[in-house]
């Protein structure tokens, strides 16, 4: 199967890659580009571990073909922190112990950031509703929700 050349933007960096038409964005991120922060939990769009944003919209990267990334802008967990430090969401997750095994954490961080970009002052219910597409088997979600509530405050305060 001959490969297709794709030009895209990942975490604000112009990026290009070759991929087979049948490869998902998740596969290319992980195997071709080395962005293993985005995880595979189910490969059928039900667990959210592969969450990324595509032009600002939260998606499951296992459900998108890599060729569809042409001309788009993708953000992964690797793009959250910057040289100055962690994103407030990442910091809040650490301080609230909102992770145990951590496999779902990248997905939750990307999804939470997408929420806060969209709704800077979410209620507990709005957070739970937004994050219902991200499964966690370790934490019971309590500390995750608290971390997002606090991160929302931090982000608003520094805005």
């Amino acid at each position: 199967m001959s490969k297709i050349h794709v030009q895209t933007t990942i975490n604000e960096e112009a990026t290009e890659f070759l991929c087979e038409p049948r490869e998902s964005l998740l596969e290319v991120l992980r195997e071709t580009l080395g962005f293993t922060g985005t995880k595979e939990g189910c490969n059928d769009g039900n667990c959210g571990a592969c969450s990324v944003t595509l032009d600002g919209v939260l998606i499951d990267s296992c459900l998108m073909l890599a060729v569809e990334a042409e001309g788009k802008s993708i953000s992964t967990v690797e793009g959250l922190a910057n040289p100055e430090g962690l994103h407030p969401i990442q910091q809040a997750f650490l301080e609230h112990a909102a992770l145990q095994c951590g496999i779902c954490t990248p997905g939750f961080l990307v999804a939470s950031k997408a929420l806060l970009d969209h709704n800077p002052e979410p209620s507990e219910h709005e957070i739970r509703h937004w994050l219902a597409g991200n499964l966690c088997r370790c934490t019971g979600y309590d500390k995750i929700v608290r971390a997002v509530l606090e991160a929302a405050q931090t982000v608003r305060a520094s805005a």
Binding site: E20, R22, E23, E27, R30, G34, F35, T36, G37, T38, K39, E40, G41, C42, N43, D44, N46, C47, A49, T76, V77, E78, L80, A81, L86, Q90, F93, L94, E95, H96, A97, L99, Q100, C101, G102, I103, C104, T105, P106, L109, E124, I127, R128, H129, L131, A132, G133, N134, L135, C136, R137, C138, T139, G140, Y141, D142, K143, I144, V145, R146
Partner: protein, 760 residues
């Protein structure tokens, strides 16, 4: 900063050592393993619930461009009648090996029959479609009670029932039958004022970890095998792989990568020997990651069960006798978990007379494996139901009834164990004193409250630690307990506390099987307890050696050197730990402390309790959790945030088990719901905040009083939910899950009965 509890580090909530890597996506999990020349493997699985393999033709698969090697069960070493012993008793090697790759029969839909490696995973998947397997489909049995009957399709023609420790010579699907007995239950029942007996069924459920099983292996030209894997036990993985491949463990190194959840399901191996054999055949490293459907179809769920509980009590409120019949699914191979259920079923109560009758049954489902306090949840669901009924019959408040009969120090369990100091009563009292319990129970229509109490015995087993003192006063702490929940930090905290160091000055890492002494699995709620013991003792070893170094420097006898609050002193001379570590080179070189433990005494069990408030939708039977509290005896909470995390996590799993999770098999014995869409675990929208109350009844068998907390918290939730639903709709369900259709049917039946009673 100190915890204000007399400790400097213990009881504080530092950011975990591996935290930054995990929130930035840098942590390397098993599936993230990258090596040059890596090939990708995939596994072909039988679609049949029970079949004989007549032939396998791999030629077309081998010919596909990009395919480097194809394996079947015939390529694994012959097992014959070999018995292996990997720590939990003798097991037929054939059972372990056949579960990795089938040889003569496949025993469940999803049973591996062949494996392929190729230059990419898509080619490997295409190759699977080219493998031609000829099956002779056999009659299957997937129902526990059917499997126990005379004439049921037999999975293992040569498996004979072990009864009371003896081989009966009878072949059947009943692998084991044993009993525990205490006192004289028959007489006690006969004289009891009230006797209540009920029957229960619980469905097969899965641990549900988000990370699929994975293994990467390189079989080097010199015969050394390296395996990178997400595992709950590197040494267990090494031992099992060595047994299946018939290779000495000295030739195998297991490098544990970060692990995305286990809950007991990543203690057995599945892919490691396959990856190794494919690497041998291809000459390159090979990575295999299980697909999500395969995780559900082919890896050990926890046993479904059929349980009968009978309990008798007197008017004064004392339980005088208890009897349990417990039949557990063992899945395709024997060696199941019913023994653990026996150790928990009546273990919250002080009962002088009892009988526990246990059956371990094989049937055409994947081999059952441990799921967080295995057996305790099923047993608790059953026992707590009867306890509530007894209390109601006697007119005694259910919490008071439990307090009156609570197990305590010195209580003898029906399986014979006598309790050392433990916190059963204290956990019950914490229910009574909690804000949740004291608040008014929800009183709207179809709302209710339930409470429950559960237990897990916890284990000790072996752990090792080495601690290398750096010349800046920091310590590199190596341990072998793979970290599934933040344990490396709890281990570092115990080490730091012992030497009055800052926790950030102790760098804890989980290392491979060549780099640390034998360490048993991360399971059984043992890591904070046993590896904590090893950390503590290795800290004392460091302390002793540092005292000797100080003695050298100050030219005094070592018994004239004191160590207190992080400072070494003798007379008017003193060094902080940091200062002294700058002098190691001039006093003989590096200091390395070490310890190995197999705690001979003092594993403390843990009791956990719930208060649950629910509302039932009368039109759909859906149960909404309004409020949920979990109480657990942690002995001593080293890092309270992670103790709370364990309590909340087990509660969430227990709620899923209570309300929704089950395996659905179709009429051909194939799993219909092998995806997260249809095997529906709780989402953030299904749960409220989960309130936690940590009780601390220190375990006298641990330097800081630790009791493992990982598991007991999954035992009580289904029972609490059943109680809350009963309070809401007037029917106490006897089957798990209490899914909407069952709750609705019960609501309607109860309304129907009420209407009849009212003459309507």
């Amino acid at each position: 900063m100190s915890a204000g509890n007399g400790y400097k580090v213990i009881g504080t909530r530092p950011v975990r050592h591996d935290g930054v890597d995990k929130v930035t996506g840098r942590a390397v999990y098993g599936g993230d393993t990258r090596l040059s020349g890596l090939l990708y493997g995939q596994v072909l699985r039988s679609p049949h619930a029970h079949a004989r393999i007549k032939s396998i033709d791999i030629s077309k698969a081998q010919a596909l461009p990009g395919v480097k090697a194809v394996l079947t069960g015939a390529d694994l070493p012959k097992t014959g009648d070999t018995i292996v012993d990997l720590g939990e008793g003798p097991a037929r090697l054939k059972y372990m090996s056949d579960n990795v790759l089938a040889t003569d029969k496949t025993l469940y839909s999803g049973h591996p029959v062949a494996a392929v490696c190729a230059s990419n995973v898509h080619i490997a998947e295409e190759a699977l479609d080219l493998i031609e397997v000829e099956y002779e489909v056999l009659e299957a049995v997937l129902n526990l009670r059917e499997a126990m009957k005379e004439g049921a399709p037999q999975l293992h023609p040569d498996m004979t029932t072990q009864e009371f420790g003896e081989d009966t010579g009878r072949t059947s699907n009943l692998a084991t039958h044993f009993q525990h007995k205490l006192g004289d239950p028959d007489t006690a029942f006969a004289s009891a004022d009230v006797v209540i007996e009920r029957e229960f069924n619980t469905a097969t459920v899965h641990q549900g970890y988000i990370e699929p099983h994975n293994a990467t292996a390189m079989w080097n030209a010199d015969g050394q095998i390296t395996i990178w894997t997400s595992t709950q036990g590197s040494f267990a993985a090494r031992a099992q792989t060595g047994a299946v491949l018939d290779i000495p463990v000295s030739k195998i190194k297991v490098v544990p990568q970060e692990i995305g959840g286990g809950f007991g399901g990543k203690i057995p191996i599945y892919l490691e020997p396959i990856a190794a054999m494919l690497s041998k055949a291809s000459g390159q490293p090979v990575k295999l990651i299980m697909t999500r459907p395969a995780v559900f179809e082919s890896t050990g769920p926890t046993p479904g069960s059929h349980i009968k509980i009978k309990m008798g009590a007197n008017k004064d409120g004392k339980i005088v006798a208890a009897e349990a019949y417990i039949a557990f699914e063992s899945g395709a191979y024997p060696g199941g978990l019913v023994g653990a259920a026996a150790m928990c079923v009546f273990s919250c109560y002080d009962i002088a007379n009892g009988l526990i009758d246990c059956y371990d049954v094989v049937l055409n489902k994947p081999r059952s494996f441990a799921y967080r306090a295995p057996g305790s949840t099923q047993a608790c669901f059953a026992t707590e139901h009867v306890v509530e009924l007894l209390a109601a019959e006697l007119g005694i408040d259910p919490l008071e009834f439990r307090l009156k009969n609570s197990a305590t120090t010195g209580t003898r369990r029906i399986d014979g164990v006598v309790y050392p100091k433990m916190g059963c009563k204290e956990v019950l009292e914490a229910i009574r004193d909690s804000e949740h319990y004291k608040s008014a129970a929800p009183s709207g229509p179809n709302q209710g409250r339930g409470i429950s109490l559960g237990y897990w015995f916890n284990v000790g087993l072996q752990s090792a630690c080495t601690a290398s003192v750096n010349n800046d006063g920091t310590v590199s702490l190596s341990e072998g307990s793979t970290d599934i929940g933040g344990s490396r930090t709890s281990i570092a905290m115990q080490f730091a506390e012992t030497l009055s160091l800052d926790v950030d000055d102790v760098r804890a890492q989980v290392v491979d099987t060549d780099s640390i002494g034998h360490t048993d699995v991360t399971g059984g709620s043992r890591v904070t307890y046993a590896t904590g013991w090893a950390a503590y003792k290795s800290a004392l070893d460091v302390q002793a050696q540092m005292c000797e170094r100080a003695a050298q420097l100050w030219e005094v006898e070592v018994d004239q050197v004191a160590f207190e609050e992080g400072v070494f002193s003798s007379g008017d001379k003193s060094y902080t730990f940091k200062e002294l570590s700058g002098h190691l080179d001039e006093t003989g070189g590096p200091v390395i402390g070490r310890a190995t433990v197999n705690p001979d005494s003092g594993v403390g069990g843990s009791f956990a309790a719930n208060i649950a408030d629910v509302e039932v939708d009368p039109d759909t039977g859906k149960v909404q959790v309004l409020r949920f509290t979990v109480i657990q005896d942690a002995g001593k909470a080293i890092h309270p945030s992670y103790v709370e995390g364990q309590m909340q996590g087990g509660s969430a799993q227990g709620i899923g088990w209570a309300l929704n999770e089950e395996y659905y098999y179709n009429k051909d014995g194939q799993l219909d719901n092998s995806s997260y869409l249809d095997y529906r675990i709780p989402t953030s929208l299904d749960l409220p905040m989960i309130e936690t109350i940590i009780v601390e009844v220190p375990n006298p068998g641990h330097p800081f009083g630790v009791r493992g907390v990982g598991e007991a918290n999954i035992a009580p939730p289904p029972a609490a939910m059943a109680g809350a639903i009963a309070d809401a709709i007037g029917v106490r369900l006897q089957e798990l899950p209490m899914k909407p259709s069952n709750v609705l049917a019960a609501t309607q039946a109860s309304e129907g009965q009420a209407a009849l009673a009212a003459g309507g």
